[in-house]
């Protein structure tokens, strides 16, 4: 699928051949830390204290490829006008930049679930936060092992 797209095919080939490490060296030096991820989360959710629960993070324990790893986040919520999920934030602790994506939901979303594919530079913890309409924040996190994306990281 991605093979035809310029640039990605080159990276795939490089990574497969193991020479990818040279190309990946630069971003590796500028990787985010859990602290930077915390700072970003503060910016995204403000002063609220996230509690663990309500959020389900569906992601494999071991990534097949760091280039496009499927991830799904769902939140227990009736998604009614009075009680719904306003935002879902996905944050990666070990990527060059900690922000992955922020989703803004409405009662029209029907269901508090999103899925997409993300990049993972190395083995790291991925976190998902859900901001509810009452202002409470819930979270879940999971470690994911990455072998290809991070040059054996």
């Amino acid at each position: 699928m991605a093979k035809k797209v310029e640039g990605w095919s080159r990276r795939d080939v490089l990574a497969a051949a193991g020479i990818g490490c040279v190309a990946m060296a630069a971003p590796k030096m500028a990787q985010a830390t859990p602290q930077e991820a915390d700072d970003l989360v503060k910016k995204l959710i403000g002063g609220a204290a996230p509690k663990e629960g309500k959020v389900q993070l569906k992601i494999k324990d071991v990534a097949e490829s760091g280039a496009a790893e499927p991830i799904a986040v769902s939140v227990d919520s009736p998604m009614s006008a009075a009680d719904h999920v306003k935002a879902i934030h996905v944050v990666a602790e070990g990527n060059p930049a900690p922000g992955v994506s922020s989703w803004f939901l409405t009662p029209k979303s029907g269901k508090a679930e999103v899925a997409f594919r993300m990049r993972l530079a190395k083995t790291q913890v991925v976190r998902a936060y859900a901001v509810m309409s009452d202002g409470s924040v819930w979270m879940a996190k999971q470690e994911i092992k990455v072998t290809i994306g991070g040059c054996g990281g």
Partner: protein, 108 residues
């Protein structure tokens, strides 16, 4: 890069109150701005930084995307079927371009 193409799977019909699944993919390099070309020059960042789903111009779900989104982003989200009309997917590029696709849906 060729102009991005958008593929989506959105039902053409739904019952009122049903939650429909929206799957969408756009062909896009999602260049992170962290890679260098063969000459050692940094390849400038060019990603889809915003994704918006609207139903008859009302926002259903939107997303702020960063460089960690994969190339050729493939996403799934949901929408509550309320009335017949148009579902629009909009992908906002760093370049300022907006790629859109509109699907018709009949709600019974």
């Amino acid at each position: 890069m060729a102009a991005p193409t958008i593929k989506s799977r959105i039902p053409a019909k739904a019952k009122k109150g049903e939650i429909i699944e929206i799957k969408a993919q756009i062909t896009h390099d999602m260049e992170t701005g962290q890679r260098k070309d063969a000459a050692g020059k940094v390849i400038p960042r060019k990603i889809i930084n915003k994704f918006v789903v609207t139903w008859n111009n009302d926002i259903v779900t939107s997303g702020d995307w960063h460089t960690a989104m994969s190339a050729n982003p493939f996403v799934t989200c949901y929408a509550l079927a309320t009335e017949s009309g148009k579902i629009k997917l909009a992908f906002h590029d760093d370049s300022g371009e907006v790629y859109e696709q509109v699907s018709e849906i009949t709600v019974e």
